[in-house]
């Protein structure tokens, strides 16, 4: 196999994986704190991409009329903050309406509620932008850099920088701030945290706020990187992101980042598997790209067989 190609795919994988990781953080935070698979999270991301497009449309910006220099940075910051804020508010509203009434319900009731919210958001997206693929204005200048034979673009750097800043920021917040400590306390034992004077409902709302804000940020960089979106995007990406969260060990922030990058890399590497008919039987029918989803899940299953709590998840001894 061509080593350059491998490295090239790795670059692609890491960039995509960074976006997965940002979305996965939302899943893992929510799961860590209320043990709910928030199926609506991927759709919040999708709504985020639409918000970004709308913001750009409001300024009448297309790929050709994009500003340069500081006004570009200002515009991107505006889109980033707008998307993050609206998504965050959306996340909090969803928590308030669909999950909080079910706080003490059986485990699967909020899951079904989450699925309901996911369906609602998908149709909102469909009503908003239609069923076709919506193109995202490519306003960030595309400059291609080379390290040896491996190429990467300026957008890739932007994606990695934004993702890294947000992840480090989140990690710092959870580790060192008062709110972060309260979040960890609620995740560990909700009742005990409440007894210690933590406002549990507020902390859960904040968790949703932050998780959804990260999805909003992921939405912008996804749009800049891939240039298109669709109302079903949230579902597909949400599935991968959730898988990433589980792969890294659900509830574990670093695990989610690791899982996201890993999934992105696996997905990119799968594309290298050749078509069985072309190369005389070696490989898979229709090539590896058609199978990437299956390969991701096979890897996931294999990893979970040997590490049942994910890569970085703690092997908690069972309580009797």
């Amino acid at each position: 196999m061509n080593f350059t190609l491998l490295l090239q795919e790795l670059v692609i994988g890491i960039t995509t994986g960074a976006i997965y990781a940002l979305i996965a953080l939302g899943y893992t935070m929510v799961y860590g704190i209320i043990e709910l698979i928030n199926f609506a999270h991927g759709d919040i991301f999708m709504i985020g991409t639409f918000i970004c497009i709308t913001i750009f449309d409001q300024f009448g910006i297309t790929a050709s009329s994009a500003p340069r220099g500081f006004s570009l940075i200002g515009l991107l910051l505006l889109a980033l903050l707008g998307s993050m804020l609206i998504c965050a508010v959306l996340g909090v509203v969803i928590e308030r309406v669909a999950y909080r009434p079910l706080r003490n319900a059986p485990r699967l009731a909020p899951l079904i509620s989450a699925i309901g919210v996911s369906l609602i958001l998908e149709d909102v997206g469909k009503l908003w932008k239609g069923i076709t693929i919506v193109s995202f204005p490519q306003i960030f200048p595309q400059i291609t850099y080379y390290i040896g034979p491996v190429s990467f673009s300026s957008v890739d750097i932007l994606v990695l920088v934004v993702a890294l800043i947000l992840m480090v920021g989140l990690q710092w917040m959870v580790s060192y701030t008062r709110t972060g400590r309260a979040m960890r306390a609620v995740a560990q034992d909700r009742e005990a945290a409440a007894l210690m004077g933590v406002n549990v409902n507020r902390i859960i709302a904040i968790t949703f706020f932050i998780g959804a804000a990260l999805a909003g940020a992921a939405a912008l960089i996804w749009g800049l990187k891939y240039g298109n979106t669709n109302f079903t995007l949230g579902f597909t990406l949400g599935l991968f992101a959730f898988t990433a969260a589980v792969l890294g060990g659900i509830g574990n922030l670093v695990g989610a980042m690791l899982g996201g990058v890993l999934i992105g890399v696996i997905e990119a590497l799968a594309a290298l598997i050749p078509d069985s008919s072309a190369t005389g039987g070696f490989g898979l029918p229709h090539g590896g790209a058609a199978w990437h989803e299956a390969i991701i899940f096979v890897v996931l299953i294999l990893i979970l067989v040997f590490r049942p709590s994910g890569l970085l998840g703690q092997q908690t001894p069972e309580k009797v």
Partner: protein
């Protein structure tokens, strides 16, 4: 024979009789006169008197006749049962409101919107009603009225009183019904809509009904009394020697109760007579079961009367609803009984579908590399393939279960989800076997001598799916009550405790996956045969989610609940929401105005665009109103609404339980 003095109600039972006779008579009259009950009866009679005069002939006529007899007889006997079984701790007005919500509202909805859609609307209305009722009662500090009369049913004299009450109820119910019917028929006669020949029937019926009511009421009373405990004096002295006094059955029931755990005993105690919640007692459920079985069994005959033309299309639709029921019941084994969250259940459905799809079509030629020797016997292979396909699915279920054994909670869910994603991709990409994205077409329908299985005659499919559902329900009930089923429930509640008590976790979990997959394999084979093809689009994660929604909405672990949940979700998703656009074209429909108003703001708006939106809202609303599901299993019900009023009533019922001294005190501590 009845004498006048025997049948005259005493003063203290008069209120009770009025409560139940009015309560039951109104829905029965709505069915008979507002809907098509009378049309069926008159057609049956005309067919009997004058063969060939109506649409009903031969076996169809007999089926309709049997249904009518069974239906009315059951309702009259039910009246007798309910009057005997009622302890009077529900106010008449509460009861009537309940009956309106649970029988009249569904009847009118079904009459107006069709069977499945009507039922689906009920699935939305009922949780809301429960929610509102609970809130209202909490707000008003509701306390149930005291028992009507402290009946010691163990006393022979009191038993006789109960029996006579039931008899009286049956008689007066039938009498009232006969009188109303007579009046209605006379009006019809004078208007000229009733054929003169039927006047003989009117006379016979008016005489016959009260007499039948007398005996059916006795029957209902007898059913109620069979569920009483033994006499107190009897019970305390005959401990140990069961069969001596000929009361063996009842004594053993009491001893069973004593040996049961408190919570289980509370469930059992609900079936004592008199009962605080007679409508929900298992005795009454037997009657409902008879009604439902009769209705479902004879439905193809009744349909033209109940809903007019278009029977074939409706029956075909119900055939589809049927395999969702099987799928939901299968998933219920994994999720409901064993508590293993499965997000990839659609995989086994796909395996079952492709099993018959490949064997029962020309695809077999591609797979084998040569044409099958005897292609025309292929369709007869459907019957063995039903089982083989299910076994293949079960095999894969066990295979999937194996890597998940060490996982718990949502790690398990994601692995099942992964499997649910992998399997359809495999079928999509391995086009040598599955014909890839085009799917398999021309799959054989089943064959059976003397039965026409073509698509335009849905009746054989209706009975096939009915038989499959019956088998599935039977197997589910037996599994649940078996040693294996108890092991499932044990690991659901607490894995470590179960393992410590000697439950083999590996085998038990694998059996759960295998059994769940088995039923989806059956559903898959049926699906392929009925559709005549297999398409890879039918097996997405979204479908797995829908199956899960059916189980959770119905009530996790509860077999009747899951059936209702499957029908409700199917009806809401596939029938009701799909119909909105065509309903909105009718100017007399309120949706017409709604549609016009929205189109004003959003050009090109159709309800189809917001189908998932509405469905999502319905899911959220149902979950918020009734998180434990529409019909929760007894075990689950106890876990919720701990402060609810029903709970207090149940404790009241326990006062009736005689026996072990520690028993009562144990219950009162709460």
């Amino acid at each position: 024979m009845p004498t006048a003095s025997m049948l005259l109600p005493t003063r203290d039972s008069r209120a009770l009789l009025i409560k139940w006779i009015v309560g039951l008579l109104v829905p029965v009259m709505v069915f008979t006169f507002v809907w098509s009950g009378e049309a069926i009866i008159n057609n049956v009679l005309l067919g009997l008197i004058n063969p060939g005069s109506t649409a009903l002939q031969g076996p169809v006529l007999i089926e309709a006749a049997i249904f009518i007899v069974v239906f009315y007889a059951t309702v009259i006997a039910l009246t007798g049962y309910l009057v005997a079984a009622d302890s009077g701790r529900r106010r008449t007005i509460d009861l009537w409101i309940d009956i309106v919500v649970f029988t009249l509202v569904p009847l009118f909805l079904v009459i107006n919107f069709g069977l499945v859609v009507g039922a689906a609307l009920c699935a939305i209305i009922w949780p809301a009603y429960f929610f509102v009722r609970r809130r209202v009662r909490q707000a008003r500090h509701y306390t149930p009225p005291p028992p009507l009369k402290n009946l010691e049913v163990s006393d022979a004299e009191q038993r006789a009183i109960l029996m006579s009450r039931a008899t009286t109820a049956g008689f007066w119910f039938a009498f009232a019904f006969a009188v109303v019917w007579l009046i209605v028929d006379l009006i019809y006669f004078f208007v000229g809509q009733l054929p003169t020949v039927l006047l003989i029937w009117v006379v016979i019926r008016t005489i016959l009904l009260p007499i039948a009511g007398y005996f059916l009421g006795r029957l209902g009373g007898a059913v109620a009394l069979r569920r009483t405990l033994a006499a107190k004096s009897n019970g305390s002295k005959s401990d140990g020697n069961v069969a001596t006094n000929g009361d063996g059955r009842r004594v053993s029931k009491k001893r069973q109760l004593e040996s049961l755990s408190t919570t289980r005993a509370r469930e059992e105690a609900k079936d004592l007579v008199p009962n605080d919640l007679p409508l929900r007692s298992t005795g009454a459920q037997r009657f409902y079961l008879i009604l439902i079985v009769a209705f479902v069994l004879f439905y193809p005959v009744l349909d033209p009367f109940l809903f007019g033309s278009g029977t074939a299309g409706r029956l075909a639709g119900y055939g589809d609803a049927g395999y969702y029921v099987i799928l939901a019941l299968g998933l219920n084994i994994v999720v409901g009984f064993a508590g293993l969250l499965d997000l990839g259940y659609v995989a086994f459905f796909a395996i079952g579908s492709y099993a018959w799809g490949i064997i029962g079509s020309t695809q077999l030629t591609n797979v084998l590399g040569q044409a099958p020797v005897n292609p025309h016997i292929l369709s007869a292979l459907f019957w063995p393939m039903l089982i083989v396909g299910a076994l293949i699915a079960a095999f894969w279920g066990v295979l999937l279960g194996a890597p998940t054994l060490r996982l718990r909670g949502d790690y398990l869910a994601i692995v099942t989800l992964g499997f649910g994603e992998i399997v359809p991709i495999v079928f999509l990409e391995l086009d040598k076997y599955s014909n890839g994205p085009n799917g398999i077409v021309g799959v054989q329908s089943p064959s059976f001598p003397g039965v026409d299985w073509s698509v335009i005659t849905p009746v054989p499919y209706y009975y096939l799916i009915l038989a499959l559902i019956a088998f599935t329900i039977f197997a589910n009930v037996r599994l649940r009550d078996s040693r294996l089923g108890r092991a499932w429930i044990a690991i659901r509640e607490d894995e470590i405790a179960a393992a410590s008590s000697g439950v083999n976790l590996v085998n038990t979990k694998l059996f759960a996956f295998g059994a769940g997959a088995f039923f989806s394999g059956i559903a898959g084979a049926y699906h392929a045969a009925k559709l005549g093809g297999v398409s890879p689009d039918n097996f997405s994660f979204g479908d797995s989610v829908i199956f899960l929604a059916m189980v959770v909405i119905g009530g996790i672990g509860s077999i009747p609940g899951v059936i209702v949940g499957a029908l409700a979700v199917y009806a809401i998703n596939q029938l009701l929401l799909a119909q909105l656009d065509s309903l909105a074209t009718d100017p007399s429909n309120p949706l017409y105005a709604v549609h016009n108003a929205i189109v004003h703001f959003i050009p090109g708006f159709t309800f189809d665009n917001i189908r998932n939106l509405i469905f999502g809202i319905i899911l959220v609303v149902i979950m918020i109103f009734r998180p434990e599901g529409l019909i929760p299993s007894a075990r689950r019900r106890r876990e919720f609404h701990a402060i609810e009023e029903d709970h207090e009533i149940e404790v009241g019922a326990l006062d009736v339980v005689p026996g072990a001294p520690g028993f009562e005190t144990e219950v009162r501590v709460e």
